[in-house]
């Protein structure tokens, strides 16, 4: 399905076009919302809000970005709105929810490696939840959705330089969170280390 055609049909109010679009994007949007909101209920609400906003706003979509980038923008805004509206804490039930989903698929005893992977994933989700919303959104768009800095700038209406510095800052915060119990990164490297090329290269 050609994107232009899809947009044109959406603008005509063709609901089958929206249904097609949801088939294409619902997993991505829902996953992003889940990572942002931290639980299934809020994730669904935010994901629904995203497609509702798309349906209502398609007339004002200027196509300065791709449809996908615009959808990420709507999704990110929906999540931030929902989180702010309820001042909901994204941590807590999130992991349970995800565990339930995974458990539903596989109830067999887990090998050690799988347990470690799961712990890693849980800690990452906790760390993400601990980030301020804006940092969480930007990092998810980069790491999970693979958007370029330019695409993120367009999706979140930010300067390219701001995208660069926020992603860097988000990673530093996340890394520091994960290093707090010493399991993933060494605490030592969070301290300020001088970089002195002359000194190092003189060795």
């Amino acid at each position: 399905m050609n994107e232009q055609e899809l947009i044109a049909r959406l603008r005509r109010g063709d609901e089958t076009a929206l249904a097609e679009l949801m088939r294409l994007y619902e997993k991505k949007v829902y996953t992003l919302c889940f990572r942002m909101c931290g639980n299934a209920e809020d994730a669904e609400e935010a994901a629904q809000d995203t497609f509702l906003a798309l349906w209502r706003g398609i007339g004002s979509f200027r196509q300065e970005s791709s449809l996908a980038t615009w959808i990420y923008r709507l999704a990110s805004n929906s999540c931030i709105d929902l989180l702010r509206r309820g001042r909901r804490n994204p941590s807590g039930p999130s992991l349970d929810d995800e565990e339930q989903m995974i458990d539903a698929v596989d109830t067999a005893p887990l090998p050690q490696q799988e347990l470690e992977r799961r712990e890693l994933r849980d800690r990452l989700c906790e760390g993400l939840s601990a980030l301020p919303e804006e940092y969480r959104a930007i990092l998810l768009l980069r790491e999970n959705e693979g958007l370029s800095y330019a695409e993120i700038a367009s999706a979140l209406t930010l300067e390219l330089g701001t995208v660069k510095s926020r992603i860097s800052r988000a990673r530093t915060l996340l890394r520091n969170y994960l290093s707090a119990d010493g399991n993933f990164f060494e605490k030592a490297s969070s301290k300020v280390t001088e970089c002195n090329r002359e000194e190092m290269s003189a060795k």
Partner: protein, 305 residues
Amino acid sequence: MKTCEDYMPALSAFADGELNEEEKAALLDHLEGCASCREKLSELMILHTMFEELPELDAPDGFAERVLDRIHESAPVQTKKPRRRALRTLAACAALVLIVGAAKTMLPGTNLLGATSDSAAQYSDTNGAASIPNPENSVVADDSGSDETYDALWSDSVQYDGAYYSDGEASDTGAENAKESEEPLLRAEYLNIRVDDAAAAEFLSTNGMSVYAETEESVSFLVTPAVAHALAGESIVTAAEADVLSGVTELMVVEIPKELSTDTAADADPGDEVSPEEEGNIVGDTLPVQPGGEEITPVEDEVSE
């Protein structure tokens, strides 16, 4: 002296493949001699693989159906015939101007609010029992031409009585001119959203939107799609409100709680609103606007935008 923290943005961008050749060369140059930054870079890579471990999730069963259900619930956004509705609205506004103008002509110096004359009684019958506007405040129109009249109609110096529109049972008895509106204008015909921010009232006022209805609790503005879209871009509305505002294709009503409203036209004592010059223009004037006629075409332009 630079610390490793200072290199973090460059390292992070490097890991994302977002450095240009020049920046990349400079960073590689630095990495060659800085073990700490190399360590940081490897941590970024580990972090990246951790993200890759996060599975993509399936949307819950029935997700798409629920979205479509919500769209059907809010179907009024998709209604048609914006032009005709806009014309009817303006016709009704003009009719109100004519009614009040005529009443003033018949009874110069009589305050309609006193309801002591036949005309005032007729006005009251026509518009129901709800608050009757003080005409000296409610309608301010210039007689210097249709353009000015149009401007006055759409400026925030003109206030329309909410009861006129919200009372769908308004009959034509005693108000011949009101027949121009053909059918009762129900407030429910418009998409009506509530914005809980006083700044929205200011924004709408300064963008020339008229007060459409007023109750004790709130003040409502009649808003053109162009201004609704502009309001959607303001930080004073939530993203959910922005979604609705950015999607409208026809006139809509934005209601703002009064306690929050800073709109002086809505809050001030009605008696203080009209300047002597403006007041002079009302008395005894027949307004040149023909309800539903050619003069009001600018509204069509605005709506069809």
